[in-house]
Structure formats: structure tokens, C-alpha cells
């Protein structure tokens, strides 16, 4: 048994940390914290990261990666979030899936570009009537010679307005006996005629999108997997990663910031006696989630499936809860000052707590709501019966 990162992982952590310390400047941070999506500074940083092979460390060398394990992805995600650097989540996740289900031509066409930070992808799953029940998508794909014609609507496609491609789940067979047997997945050039992208802004000020398709033509060579085989592609994307959970340096920094704020700026009155206990509890939760996630990631790298599917999904559940609790507690610590927005006079800690407080509920919903994750763990991990 061993709980230390191996030397290669430590070296990678040092490399990406030092790189971002230097290159993730205030222009990038401002862009990322605006929550409006990748702008020119973010794109520039991503290309620099790509040039140093920092974006897709788990991919094979021939596609622009380093051939490292899931632990490297965990390290990357930790450093990116800690530095407020742009987060090419969708592209890398999609690339993981392409590695499993894409054909050789597609891998060569897309993976090196993603790894270099030159191609950005947006996930296109959700629709107004297909959220957790994603197999109910209605966006239609109809075969037409060597193309498909697409019509319909997507929603909550957060990266669509700054991406090059859409990873689009469509309904190709409306007569399929089981709806998940009538789905096909495409990679669609977002500059194609007939695509309209409209912003949707969350309560935190995060830009996401509605995407409308009207007679959009996509070439067959951009179909991923088989026709009507979209469900398998989707599953490989949702469960292909394995790692990604673990290190929580960013959360620990926020806790440290709050400790400092309480000790230095907040008057220590009897009313505040609950604060040390509450912040200790958050630190403990964070540490538990971190070790649980790292343990699961390490097991995934060792190709071990532990009983109940292990702690990866479980650590994500705990992490989502911890995030909400962290910002709830932080806002309580700030008291009336917590409600002051970033640019307001008297706003504490640069108004960042308020922004994260407004954004925290998103994290127990995106990428599979907690309820769907629990359903998956219950049935796949614990083997409980389905309806």
C-alpha cells in the first residue's frame, strides 16, 4: 500500500504548477472568472499548454498526449482550477471517448488538435425535454446520401459559443423499440449553416447556451460509432474517464483564505464561536473527499475494479456536497458583507465568495445530477434491482 504520487506524477505536477504560476496571468483569470467562456487570453494560454503537452496527459503520445495514467488528469484538473485557468473539460472528455469509439481517421483528425489547444469541443446532450433521461433526445438526424440532416434544439451546452465542434447526440430512428437503440452521435462543425446559438445566463452569471439546428448538414465521416449506436458512444464518454477526482488544492486554499479573513479582519466575538468548528469540518470533508478520490483514481490506473465500483463516483457526490456547504458557510462567515457584489464598495475577498455561492448549486446538477449518479451507483455498483 502506498499513498504517494509516483515520481513521474510529482514531476508533472511541478511542471504544470510552475507553468501556470507563470503563464496564467490576470487577464486569463479575469476572463475565466467572468464565466462568459474562453476569450482570446484563455485560447492563447490553452495553446501554450498544448505546446507543452499539458492538456491531455493521459492520451497516447501519437495523439499528442504523454501516455500517463488517470492520476495525471487529476493533477491537471487540480492545477487548472486552483489557478483559475481555462478548463477544456468537454474537449478532453470527448477525446477520451474518441479514443475508445472513434475510427482511426477521426482520431488523427481531432485528437492532436484538441491536445494542442487548437480545437475546442462542446457537449451537446441535453434538450428541453431530455435532461437526466438523455435517451429521450428529439433532435432528428436523417440520412441523405453521404450526409445527415439535423433539425432540433439543444440546451445547457455551456461551451458551444466558443467551440469549434459540437459533440451531438441525435435521434436517428424514431421507431426504435427501445429509445436508446435509435440514437446516433455526430461531431458537427459549429460554423455550419443553419446553427443558431443563443445565450442563457445562470444566476451566477455563467454563460451557457441554447443551440438550434435547422436543416444542418453533417458529413457521414463525422458520425461517431455506428448509426443508431449512439448510446454506446455516450456511455464511453460518461464512464470512459475513470479518474479525474481527487486533489482539492483549490478548496483548501479557499478554506485558508477564510481562516485568514476570520483571524485578521473579523472581530472575534462570542457570536463567532461556531466558525472554527465549521471550517475544521469543511477541511475534514475536503481531505476525506481528496483521499477517497485519489484512491479511486489510483485503483483505476491499476485496472482494479474494487467492490461496489469503488470510491470515484462516491467522492464526486461528497465533493458536490462539500462545495455547496463551503460557500454556504463562507457566506455565513461574511454575514451582511457577503451579499456585496464584486464591484461594490465594502465587498470582502474581492466578491469571489458571492460568485461561487451563486455557482455552487450547479455542481450537483451538471454532468449527471446527484440523483442520476446515485441511481448509477445503486444499480451498477451495489447491484440493487432496477424498476
Amino acid at each position: 500500500m502506498d499513498f504517494e504520487l509516483n515520481p513521474e506524477e510529482k514531476a508533472f505536477q511541478k511542471e504544470i504548477r510552475e507553468f501556470l504560476d507563470k503563464e496564467c496571468n490576470e487577464n486569463v483569470v479575469a476572463e475565466v472568472d467572468s464565466m462568459l467562456g474562453e476569450g482570446p487570453y484563455s485560447k492563447e494560454l490553452l495553446r501554450k499548454m498544448g505546446a507543452r503537452k499539458l492538456l491531455a496527459p493521459t492520451w497516447p503520445v501519437e495523439y499528442g498526449g504523454r501516455g500517463m495514467g488517470h492520476m495525471a488528469e487529476t493533477i491537471k484538473v487540480d492545477e487548472i482550477t486552483t489557478h483559475h485557468a481555462p478548463f477544456p473539460l468537454d474537449a478532453v472528455e470527448i477525446g477520451n471517448s474518441l479514443l475508445i469509439v472513434g475510427n482511426e481517421e477521426q482520431k488523427k483528425r481531432f485528437l492532436p488538435g484538441i491536445a494542442k489547444g487548437e480545437i475546442e469541443f462542446a457537449l451537446g446532450y441535453s434538450e428541453p425535454n431530455a435532461g437526466s433521461d438523455v435517451a429521450s433526445v428529439q433532435l432528428r438526424s436523417v440520412e441523405d446520401g453521404d450526409h445527415f440532416i439535423l433539425n432540433g434544439q439543444k440546451i445547457y451546452n455551456t461551451e458551444a459559443h466558443f467551440s469549434d465542434y459540437h459533440w451531438l447526440l441525435t435521434k436517428s430512428d424514431p421507431n426504435a423499440v427501445k429509445k436508446h437503440r435509435g440514437l446516433t452521435l455526430f461531431m458537427v462543425d459549429l460554423k455550419s449553416p443553419g446553427i443558431t446559438i443563443r445565450p442563457l445566463i445562470t444566476m451566477a452569471g455563467l454563460r451557457t447556451n441554447e443551440v438550434f439546428y435547422e436543416d444542418v448538414r453533417v458529413p457521414k465521416k463525422n458520425m461517431v460509432g455506428e448509426k443508431n449506436g449512439g448510446w454506446a458512444v455516450l456511455m464511453s464518454a460518461l464512464y470512459g474517464g475513470g479518474g479525474g477526482g481527487g486533489l482539492a488544492t483549490g478548496t483548501k486554499k479557499v478554506i485558508d483564505t477564510l481562516v485568514k479573513y476570520v483571524l485578521e479582519e473579523k472581530q472575534d466575538t462570542d457570536e463567532n464561536q461556531w466558525i472554527p468548528d465549521a471550517l475544521a469540518d469543511l477541511y475534514i470533508r475536503t481531505q476525506v473527499g481528496e483521499i477517497m478520490g485519489l484512491r479511486a483514481t489510483a485503483l483505476a490506473d491499476l485496472k482494479v475494479t474494487p467492490p461496489y465500483g469503488g470510491g470515484g463516483a462516491a467522492s464526486r457526490l461528497l465533493g458536490g456536497d462539500t462545495r455547496r456547504l463551503l460557500y454556504k458557510t463562507a457566506m455565513q462567515i461574511l454575514g451582511p458583507y457577503g451579499q456585496l457584489a464584486k464591484d461594490s464598495k465594502w465587498a470582502p475577498l474581492n466578491g469571489e465568495i458571492l460568485r461561487e455561492y451563486m455557482d455552487a448549486p450547479r455542481w450537483t446538477i451538471v454532468h449527471g445530477s446527484q440523483e442520476i449518479q446515485k441511481l448509477n451507483i445503486a444499480t451498477r455498483g451495489l447491484g440493487l434491482p432496477r424498476k
Binding site: M1, D2, A280, I284, Q287
Partner: protein, 380 residues
């Protein structure tokens, strides 16, 4: 990073589980709760013969020279089986401190007795306040020629009733208050002046009141350094907290296992209740706690095993697992329904042990204070 057990550890785990399944059924656990001694001397000797008592002690003291992590595996299995008996008191609270700071003579005298199952130890630490803090130590040991005379009352001393020896923590400097002036003594339990009363506790785990009245202990029975014992006591508490968490993980896993099995077969509304989302969420919430507790407990045990510092980890782990065990056992009870609140169901065995384990070596609030101090707060 490699969180797996080694092949040898997997064998140890399996053999311990098989052994306890056969030799320590819940019927024995219940019987021992009512038994005067609280343990089966026959089972105790069998366990000693298997080498469990001596697992972590060097071969020259009759042990097997294995690691704390190996011991953690045994403790998890004991937690799963609700193993009755003074194993924890003897090995974790008695043997390990002697191995750590005992003189060669002390090691030679006591460790082989422990390894062979001939000596039972108990840690006479806590007093009336029930706190694991230096300030709570009021018992006095006064120098008298080549001996010390101990006076004081120790409370919540698990296994004191059957102990052959105590590690007794007392103040050797009458003027001292905090962490200074505290000394650890090895006390023969047959010494005149010791009276022990078994307390009826939630887990029926033979916690005792132990009164020391003019108990004379030879000077050479000081364990470690005179007046500077608190640092070692703290280490004993931290290590015991981690060890206790490993035991608790075994109990939590047992509760999860039996709950998952039950909801797959219990039929209501013509379907197994495991179909229902409410029940599924209970089970997944339990799993999150079991997996989280296992991860931190084993990471902490690994730190002890490899000589890394573990003070923060002890606090984090015991704070988390103390509350997590309660959550798991109450959700497990809820998923079972009425059957699990009946006295002779297995669930109450775990429910009661979860509380006793929560209290042992500091509850969640106690350890969160430690974490708060490490974050920079001045809390007392």
C-alpha cells in the same frame, strides 16, 4: 500510489474473516456481553496461537514483526465481527507504547507475555471529566524512596476488570497542571489498593471505574520519561484513534453489506424494496461514508506504518469516521425498518458499538478542535 492490499495482506484478511465467521458468531458476541469477563479465554488463546497478539511485535519478543497496516486489517475484521475481548486494550494501548518507549527490560518482560496471550493490558487514562486532555489528569503519583505511590480514580477504563497490567497516567509533579509533570506507569493489577468496578455501558464493553488508593509502584516501572509522559500519551491517543477507525470501518462495511443484501430480498408493494429510489439513496449515502472512512483510515494507518507524521490525520480521520459510522448505522436501520430495532437483530450490536467507538479517544467535536487549531485558530 497503490491503495491495494498486498497478496500477504489479502491472505491475512481472508483468513481472519474466515476464522471470525466460524469462531466468533454473533451468538458468542451476545453471550460475552453478559459474561462476567466479557471474553472467551478459549477464543483468546486461539487468537494468540494464530499470532494476532504478537503480529506487530519483533520476532525476538515472540511476535511476527509485521506492520501496523497489517494490524489495521485485523482490526477491520474484528470490527466487522464485533470481536469481544481485550485485544485493542492489550495490543494497541499496552503493547505498542511499551515497544515504542519501553526499556529493553520492559520489552523483554511484557511483550512476550502479550504476544503469547498471557498478559492483558488496560490503559488507565481518562478520569471523571472523560476528556482526552492533559488537564483532565488529576491522579497523583508521589515519590517514596524507590517507588511511587498512586492515588486517584480512573473512569471509562475498558477491560480494566480483566487486566493483568495497567498503563496508568498520573501526575508526578504535584504543582504541575497542563502537559508538564505527567508520567506513565506500568502497574501490576494485583497490587494492593486497586479496586475495579465494571460499569454497565451501551456496548457492554466492560468499561470500569478503577480506584487507586496508595498503590505502590517501583520506580523501574516508569514507562518513558519522568514528568514528560504527555507527549507519548498523546501519541497513544492518536494512534488508538486511527486504530479504532479501522475497527469502525469493519463495522460500517458489515452494516452496508447486510443492508444491501436485505433490500434486495425484502418485498413490499410486490417488489424488492431496493427498487425504490429512496432506499437506493440511503444505500448510496452509506457507501459514500464507508468508502470515505476506509480511504482516510487506511491512509492514516499507512502513515503510521511507514513512519510518517500522523497527528493531523488522526484528528481528521476520527472526526469523520465518528460521525460517519452513526450515519451509516442509522440509515441501515432505516432501510431495514422495524426488524432492525428489535433487540436480538444484529443491527443494534453495531448501533451500540458505533456510539462507544465514537466516544473512544475523542469524538468528532474534540478532533475538529484539533483540526481548527492546526488551521490557525486558538480554541481550547
Amino acid at each position: 500510489m497503490d491503495p491495494r492490499l498486498s497478496e500477504e495482506q489479502e491472505i491475512l484478511q481472508k483468513s481472519a474473516r474466515d476464522f471470525l465467521t466460524e469462531k466468533c458468531p454473533k451468538s458468542l458476541v451476545r453471550e460475552m456481553e453478559k459474561d462476567e469477563k466479557g471474553y472467551s479465554p478459549q477464543l483468546w488463546q486461539e487468537v494468540a496461537d494464530l499470532g494476532w497478539m504478537g503480529l506487530v511485535f519483533p520476532e525476538k519478543y515472540g511476535g511476527a514483526g509485521m506492520s501496523f497496516l497489517d494490524l489495521a486489517i485485523l482490526l477491520e475484521e474484528m470490527g466487522r465481527a464485533c470481536f469481544p475481548g481485550p485485544f485493542f486494550s492489550t495490543v494497541i494501548l499496552g503493547g505498542l507504547p511499551i515497544l515504542d518507549i519501553g526499556s529493553d527490560e520492559q520489552k523483554e518482560k511484557y511483550l512476550p507475555q502479550i504476544a503469547s496471550g498471557k498478559a492483558i493490558f488496560a490503559l488507565a487514562l481518562t478520569e471523571a471529566s472523560g476528556k482526552y486532555e492533559a488537564g483532565a489528569i488529576k491522579a497523583k503519583a508521589t515519590a517514596d524512596k524507590n517507588a511511587y505511590v498512586i492515588n486517584g480514580t480512573k473512569l471509562f477504563i475498558t477491560d480494566a476488570y480483566v487486566a493483568d497490567y495497567f498503563l496508568c497516567i498520573a501526575r508526578t509533579d504535584a504543582k504541575s497542571k497542563g502537559e508538564e509533570g505527567i508520567t506513565i506507569f506500568i502497574v501490576d493489577a494485583k497490587s494492593p489498593g486497586i479496586s475495579r468496578t465494571v460499569l454497565k455501558t451501551i456496548a457492554m464493553d466492560k468499561q470500569c471505574e478503577v480506584v487507586f488508593t496508595q498503590v505502590k509502584v517501583p520506580k523501574e516501572n516508569i514507562l518513558g520519561k519522568l514528568n514528560q509522559g504527555w507527549g507519548e500519551v498523546q501519541k497513544i491517543i492518536e494512534r488508538a484513534a486511527i486504530a479504532k477507525c479501522c475497527e469502525m470501518v469493519g463495522g460500517m462495511q458489515a452494516v452496508l453489506d447486510m443492508t444491501v443484501a436485505y433490500v434486495k430480498e425484502r418485498v413490499q408493494f410486490d417488489v424488492p424494496i431496493g427498487v425504490f429510489q429512496a432506499i437506493q439513496h440511503h444505500c448510496v449515502n452509506m457507501l459514500v461514508d464507508v468508502e470515505g472512512s476506509r480511504a482516510v483510515a487506511y491512509e492514516a494507518a499507512w502513515r503510521i506504518s511507514t513512519g510518517r507524521p500522523y497527528s493531523s490525520e488522526a484528528a481528521i480521520t476520527k472526526a469523520w469516521v465518528s460521525d460517519a459510522y452513526y450515519r451509516v448505522v442509522t440509515l441501515g436501520t432505516q432501510a431495514h425498518g422495524g426488524v432492525a430495532i428489535i433487540e436480538d437483530h444484529d443491527m443494534p450490536l453495531y448501533y451500540r458499538r458505533a456510539k462507544a467507538a465514537e466516544l473512544a479517544f475523542g469524538d468528532a467535536r474534540f478532533h475538529r478542535k484539533t483540526v481548527a487549531r492546526k488551521l490557525g485558530f486558538a480554541v481550547d
